[in-house]
């Protein structure tokens, strides 16, 4: 009887003899990340549907993105696509146990992600300085007239949806860069992140939105420190693969934001 029970358990629990065979044939961290990404895709789906709703009923929809903006957004897209490739190469390196190249590819991915954030931040700053602001926010000095100021005044749903959607995505990219930094460098990443936050806060002019937006790094620093000190661990190939899933999702969402928000609002002259 005891043998039969043991045999039954062995069949039920697979080779480990301790846990049930997972339903999806994947380890729990991966399934957990997929479920999170499924729910997050609904968040972005709702925002994109809301954007499209406004786009359909507002006639005519503003087309403020000239060649320079589209070129900038295209470079940003190339950065994200290339970051996905370096992320895949990082996962490969982690699976063959090559720690040095895992770290190198993750750092390359972070560099592409950081380039995306910087380019996006510069574009935001330019649009805001030319008068594109969301309702309730003051116009910067000298930008109360012009094409973008008129759009903010007459079609407030344009800056509201544009900044809302792209801010949500930029936040996800920022979280992704911090996540990869924690996986790649562990506690060594904390002083780097702290230095970036301080440098950003001191160097970005006080009338720029990112003078305050840079505090997202401080929040990220606190969260990363809590995780790294309360649950210190050596991140393995599974952790690298799961962080890669998150990173590719950020890339995936941009594949819809880029055409819907930028390419459908172009005016090439």
């Amino acid at each position: 009887m005891a043998d039969a029970t043991l045999q039954h358990n062995a069949v039920q629990h697979g080779l480990s003899g301790e846990y049930e065979t997972p339903l999806f044939g994947a380890y729990s961290k991966k399934v957990g990340m997929w479920l999170f990404l499924a729910s997050d895709s609904l968040t972005f789906g709702a925002l994109l549907f809301a954007f499209s709703y406004n786009r359909i009923y507002t006639i005519p929809w503003p087309t403020p993105f000239h060649a320079e903006s589209i070129a900038n957004a295209t470079i940003m897209t190339a950065c994200l696509l290339s970051s996905s490739l370096t992320m895949v190469l990082g996962v490969f390196a982690a699976q063959r146990g090559d720690r040095a190249w895992t770290r190198n590819w993750l750092l390359a991915t972070m560099a592409f992600g950081t380039a995306f954030i910087v380019l996006h931040g510069m574009e935001w700053s330019k649009l805001i300085s030319e008068g594109l602001t969301i309702p309730g926010f003051p116009h910067p000095a000298g930008s109360s007239s012009g094409e973008l100021a008129d759009i903010s005044k007459n079609v407030p749903q344009f800056p509201a949806t544009f900044f809302g959607l792209t801010a949500m995505h930029m936040l996800h990219v920022t979280i992704g860069v911090i996540y990869l930094g924690v996986v790649a460098l562990r506690k060594l990443f904390l002083p780097i992140l702290g230095a970036l936050w301080l440098a950003g806060f001191l160097l970005i002019p006080s009338d720029n939105v990112f003078h305050y937006g840079i505090h997202a790094l401080l929040i990220g620093l606190i969260v990363a420190a809590v995780i790294l000190f309360l649950k210190p661990k050596d991140y393995d190939a599974h952790d690298v693969e799961v962080s890669g899933l998150y990173w590719h999702f950020v890339d995936l969402v941009w594949m819809f934001i880029f055409p819907l928000v930028y390419l459908m609002s172009t005016k090439i002259t």
Partner: protein, 107 residues
């Protein structure tokens, strides 16, 4: 656990996928620059290209193509079903407002 390297997983295919994604992006940008189609047709074409790009990212970069069929179908069907529900929440009303002839103040 499902080890990622269990299937025939060559690095070369990821470079091909990356190249395809860049090429599709370039096509999108050219279509927008040249204003090849009217707004509605342009939206349809861009969305089709975006769906192809997202399928490449999900299938290859996110590795879903190599996961079990149960996982693939449960994730995709549930998310797409939610998007279909959202479509019916948003778009009939957007069309109604458009047909009412709402114009922005600058017109």
């Amino acid at each position: 656990m499902h080890d990622v390297a269990k299937h025939d997983d060559s690095k070369g295919q990821y470079f091909w996928v990356w190249g395809a994604l860049l090429l599709l992006t370039a096509i999108e940008v050219v279509l927008a620059y040249k204003q090849v189609f009217g707004a509605v047709r342009m939206l349809e074409v861009l969305l089709i290209l975006s769906v192809i790009k997202s399928a490449l990212i999900i299938g290859y970069f996110m590795h879903l193509k190599f996961e079990r069929a149960l996982m693939r179908w449960m994730l995709m069907v549930s998310v797409v079903a939610c998007f279909i529900i959202m479509y019916f929440f948003y778009f009939p009303d957007a069309d109604r407002e458009r047909d009412l002839g709402v114009r922005w103040m600058g017109q």
